[in-house]
Amino acid sequence: MKTQAADTRPQRETIQRLDRVFNPRTIAVVGDKRAMGYMWLRCMSTFPGRLYSVQVDPNEIAGIEEMGIANYKSLLDIPEEIDYVVCAVPRPVSPRIIADCIAKKAGGVALFTSGFAETETEEGIVTQEQITQMAREAGLLLIGPNCMGIYNRRLGVRHSGDQEAGAAGKVGFISQSGTHCINFSLFGAVHGIKCSKTVSFGNAVVLDAPDYLDYLAQDVETEVIAVYIECVKDGRRFLRSLRAAAQRKPVVVWKGGVTAAGSRAVYSHTASLTTAPAVWEAAMQQAGAIQTENMDDTIDVVKALVHCKPAAGRRMGLIAMTGGQSVVITDAFEREGLEVPLLTPSSYEKLSQFFNIIGGSYRNPLDAGGTIGMGFVPGNLQRLFDILEDDENVDAVAMEVGASFIVRRLRENPAMLDQMVETVAAQRDRSAKPFLAITHPGHAEDVMCEMRRKLLDRGVASFTSFQAAARALSKSIVYWMSQAKVD
């Protein structure tokens, strides 16, 4: 699509103002309650800036002050500027809080409050219309309603008490669903994916998906963007923002409500017509976005994008531990559109000097159990890596880390496992070729989980199945190659 020559000033202004909301120095939580376990105030316990509560109910105030948090009867009473407001009041009170946010010139407000148009009740629709009008006229940045607002890992601004706070992550997530937004950050954390900023945007009456895309596209912390979306209001605007973002960094789009029954569910949520799946797919292809189908798929692709170096081609060098695994790892990668070519003569010559061919072979895949597993010879794994590194027929390397092998090693010589993680991590760091590991849980889920975590901690993309690894890598390669304008 052509870049529209439209006026981009409002867009730039929104981005600048959103930057204040996503990076607050002061936060006010309005209407937190004991019945919710003071969930919002507890979420912000990791926030090092100044946190205020707004609550009028004396019974609630006592509990809030016990937590050591300053409470005010009104936003307007707080003696400094407020960058981000979380509003959890009941729906009928929400217009008054919006008016206060406007009077206070708050940076922005996330309305956790629900019961608006999504309920299809007259009061819900009317109140939503009212707060939308108020916010639009005053230029108030309104996130939601019916949403979980933002998560900024670096600043400890959270929307779930289970979320991590600490160093900035690299992945931004934009979600029409609060559940998926929180789950992405939680599941992602287990898979070596740290978030930069995420937002659950709910009914999107003022700020919509394109606004957040525009923001994360230019956010330097965010290197990869993932999106969960059910329907878009202005498809052409969404595509413009998506395309512009995908030209700067990978954007993964997970669409909910693709099937006929699924789209009926979306309709009953949002009362908007959905697009035929083939048209949606075409639109994503046109925008240069990577499409995923579910949370696992999304996590896997993001993992490959974050941890694997950008690939220059589709040709795999594969390492497996047994003959049977060599066959199926090859099928898995070929099925996802990747190639498993023969190696160069020079590689074969080097391999012939040390590769154990009793119960093994090295055409590619390398059936290497006897060489790096059972008859472990120190240095052999590194030698395999070196050969694949130098082989010009190989663009990317994937290695099976088999459960049987790991369990036996753990029993015999646990120190060797750490040594292996070290060798693999060092290879990942020094090689320009994408590298990934497959740690199938097999019969030892806990052990393999630990192994996967050790590898991920060192930045080695590790997947639970050949298929997941192949699919994620393939999707990331299509993106990098289209960015490099390679067919």
């Binding site: 209001k233 017509l273 083939a278 075409a282 046109q286």
Partner: protein, 230 residues
Amino acid sequence: MPRNPATPNAQQQGRLLSEIESKQMLAQAGIPVTRARLARTAGEAARISEGLGYPVVLKIVSPDIAHKSDAGGVKVGMDSAAEVHAAFAEIMIAVKERQPEARIEGVAVQKMAPAGTEVIIGMSQDAQFGPVMMFGLGGIFVEVLKDVAFRIVPLEPRDAREMVRETKGFAVLKGVRGQQPADLDALEKLILQVSQFIEKHPEVQELDLNPVFAYPDGCIAVDARIVIAD
């Protein structure tokens, strides 16, 4: 023209232009179409045919008939004034029998284009994305196998390139059983021209070039249908 079942969310709102009007509008935008002229009588049809040169094609012109072949309203390959006279009469009889209520303006006369590989280029409205273009090979590829590619308007050259290549029917365009390959550059250019045409004419709600004949050298739309917003 056969119905295009692959077009999603087709909305039959607005006014259907006649083939002659549709082609005029497209020709003005530089889109390659076979020009058609209206004949109200058999004599007029024969005179126009003499001017165009043979062979010719006759098609019924009626605001009430969207699927002209089904109504018996299409005759191809007439080589003389006498054949044109006869064909005109046959069309009138067939249409009156099958669709007696239809208002008939006359018959569109056009020079018969040499046969080529049939492709379809269409546009329909999507609830979220607005105008969406469709490309596919004619006949069973589109109608039975739904083997089509979509792109949102406006298209870039890369989009047209991918569109032509991502259908299974692409294998046919590349040339099968000794056939010469179709002119892919010409098809891509046509797709981009249609995209620009749609952008320039927001009143166009639906559009079908069906079929387009793709040749080893060039391509031409031999039938066209446009729906304009009221």
